[in-house]
């Protein structure tokens, strides 16, 4: 009976695989229930501890019971955390090992991941300063401000505990949520199961920099416990399917698809902006919400589509850890599913690139997602908003008669135009979150500028204060 055992083999972790712990109010928490984190070839890279709902509930309670660091310490700790994130060995991983791990599981080119490390570190380091920019001009952030003697608005938190459900598309998405810590929130982060390394590293960096274990927590978990994170928080923010389920809740801020676009009017010569256009499509491996999903051009879109396709066709198919890699890689099965989906979605369009498929197998279980360029008949074609996690762009003709309707629901719109009346309309359009006028790539960004509005506008409110 030697083969009979109470410990089931398939439930026992393979030896030697690193384990990413949950990070609770008393430090690291290692569970028996875990999820394998696989790289793009399907190899097991790590195991992610899945915290049970009981642990989540207790952690949320601990966060609520904790007090925030004083403001000056928060600012200093965030600056230090950014630096640690960029340079330190955290959880046994050097920054190079961390970047290699993210590259392997996300399939994002290594150069993209390295850039993301720097961007993320910079955003975290400056997050205290960034949130001040969201403070209404009429408000102060401390009741002791002398202005409060004569009546003043004071900027205060809408709650104490924020739940963050991080999407796994790009490590750069982690640059924003530490702003909540800057504002004195306690934060519970549920990492993406696809790429948990960034969340893990960032929480370790924040703790090392001075935030308490009861001020910022990492709670990888299944769906039931993920609901408990949302319910246990005052406000929630993120982009995963749990957050989508709560999208109608005013206490939940949902990261929406970017559907970023470029508009070129007839008074501009598109050939002068080709570098910017291609860069907008392909930077970050085309995986970001700020990558261009659609290009609208006044006049015949065919020459532009041809030129973009020609540039994108020249990009090499390489594994993500190759220094020259610039296209994203996924597990072959997932890549094929995406290919089937896009080909189906693209029916009736004119394909300039990727019309018969865009998956390039690397032979190790992974596949490169090569770029796809499709030309649409009109600015009202339904494909226009189809945003996908690789360089996939829909190019359509646009005319004055179309108006701004095709430009709605856009995270970043780059408008290359001389038409100030049109710019007026675009600035005023509420569903366009960010507007770049002239030749600024859609992914252009600087710390302190809003991404999809200031996070502070969601986390804070102003109240009247008067002291006698």
């Amino acid at each position: 009976m030697g083969t009979m055992t109470q410990t089931p083999p398939q439930e026992t972790p393979p030896p030697g695989v690193p384990v990413l712990d949950a990070l609770g109010p008393s430090g690291a928490y290692r569970t028996r229930n875990r999820q394998e984190v696989r790289d793009v070839t399907g190899a097991v890279m790590a195991e992610l501890c899945l915290a049970p709902a009981l642990f989540v509930n207790r952690t949320m309670k601990a966060l609520r019971g904790a007090s925030a660091l004083p403001a000056a310490q928060r600012a200093a700790a965030l600056a230090r955390a950014g630096e640690l994130f960029r340079t330190a060995t955290l959880g046994g991983m050097t920054v190079q090992e961390y970047e290699a791990a993210v590259t392997r599981v996300s399939g994002l080119p290594i150069s993209v991941v390295r850039t993301a490390t720097k961007t993320c570190a910079e955003r975290v380091g400056q997050s205290y300063r960034s949130v001040q920019l969201a403070c209404p001009a009429g408000a102060v952030s401390d009741w002791r401000d002398p202005l409060a003697r004569t009546g003043q608005a004071v900027w205060t938190r809408r709650g104490d505990v924020l739940a963050v459900h991080v999407p796994g598309n790009h490590p750069g998405t982690h640059g924003f949520w530490p702003e909540a810590l800057a504002l004195g929130y306690r934060v519970a982060v549920r990492p993406s199961a696809r790429e948990p390394f960034t969340a893990h590293r960032l929480v370790l960096a924040l703790r090392e920099a001075g935030f308490g274990d009861d001020q910022v927590a990492l709670l990888p978990c299944g769906h039931d416990a993920a609901d408990a994170i949302v319910r246990g928080a005052d406000l929630a923010y993120g982009g995963d399917e749990i957050i989508r389920r709560y999208a109608d809740d005013p206490g939940v801020l949902s990261l929406r698809p970017g559907r970023s676009k470029i508009l070129l009017t007839a008074d501009t010569e598109w050939r002068e902006h080709l570098d910017m256009i291609v860069d907008s499509v392909v930077r970050h491996g085309g995986s970001g919400c700020v990558n261009a999903t659609a290009i609208l051009v006044e006049g015949d879109p065919a020459p532009l589509a041809g030129a973009v396709a020609e540039r994108l066709a020249a990009l090499p198919s390489l594994p993500p850890n190759d220094e020259r890699a610039c296209l994203p890689v996924q597990q072959s099965k997932a890549a094929r599913a995406l290919e089937t989906y896009v080909l189906e979605r693209a029916q009736g369009t004119r394909a300039w690139l990727g019309g018969t498929g865009f998956v390039d197998e690397l032979g190790d279980g992974s596949a490169v997602l090569r770029a796809a360029v499709h030309q649409l008949d009109g600015a009202d074609a339904p494909q226009l908003g189809a945003e996908l996690p690789f360089p996939c762009v829909w190019i359509a003709p646009w005319g004055r008669a179309d108006g701004i309707a095709p430009l709605r629901d856009t995270l970043v719109l780059t408008a290359v135009t001389q038409d100030e009346a049109l710019v007026d309309a675009l600035v005023e359009e509420p569903t366009i979150s960010n507007l770049h006028i002239g030749s600024h790539a859609t992914h252009w960004h600087r710390p302190g500028l809003p991404h999809d509005d200031y996070l502070g506008d969601f986390l804070m409110r102003s109240k009247t204060l008067v002291r006698v």
Partner: protein, 366 residues
Amino acid sequence: MARAELSPLELPYDADPDPDEVVRAAMRWHFSPETGTPFWLGRAASLEFDPLTDVKCYDDLRLFPNVANELRDVPAADLVPRGYGKHPDIVGVYESGGTTGAPKRVVCPRDWLEKLVDWSNANLDVHGFPRGVDWLGITPSGPHIVGEIFRRSAVTHGRYGFQVDLDPRWVKRLIADGKAAQADAYAEHVVDQAADILRTQPIGVMTVTPPLLDRIAQREDLVELINEKVGAIRWGGTQMDADTEQLYRTEIFPDTALYGHYGSTMILGIAGQRHGTPLGEPCVFDTFAPYITFQVVEPETGRPVEYGRRGQVVMHHVSKALLLPNNLERDTAVRVAAPAGSIGDSAAGIAPVERFDNEAVIEGVY
């Protein structure tokens, strides 16, 4: 009547009869015109075998189809064996939770319930449950059998049973309708009632479901009260994973015995947690064999999975009270060898199927 002459179906809980003899006796009982069950007597004609001659041993139970779904509309009276006489001593008619459709119904005669509770009480002793204390039950009082098992356990192993009712179907409905806030409020209402009993009565044993125990554990005052008064907690109704159990045993209720049930109204009973599972290991459930048995199988083929592998749970009930073989449950479990001398499988790590993230293509890069 001398004990040696008793049918294998009428022995006390600790008699340890031959499983094959139990099966043969059950066939004679349920399929004889004088003692048989109207449901089975009627169903016999459509079986492709003769239960009286073809079912000779425990393994032959596999010949039976899974008739569990027919229990959604069979008149309850047709489930009572005629052998119980004109005025059978029936404790109650019990229903499944209705998770997979309309509820299924079974009927529970008193002799069976007493035997089951005797077996269960012996388990409670093994797990260190204090005898003679007052019990608090936060479980459905009906129509599921767990309420009756609670009451009988409380008065036979303990002294008085205090109950707070729980309607799991209403909770499921609220959640299905997206009314999470109402489900929350209902659960808090249940916990409030339990809190009142805990505060005012000398409760020594608690019976509760894992989600409610989780809520209770969020209230510091109740955790204190339980640690002060309650010597043992019996949980059941949904699964508790090993990580959660470990938190209770090490951090929240370190001095309280924690013992789980894995039950189903459709087996007229429960399986009990094996004693002595190491901390952090999933608990193993042993059945009241040979009357209640499990098999852990591949859902596609019905064949047993290897020991240590996960499969779907098939439940059999073979007793004087009920014949319900081959009931394929929704749960998955890891197959574990039954205790020495027992038949069927034990089950560990009971779990519904859950995935962390799906791989379907969703438009939008978040």
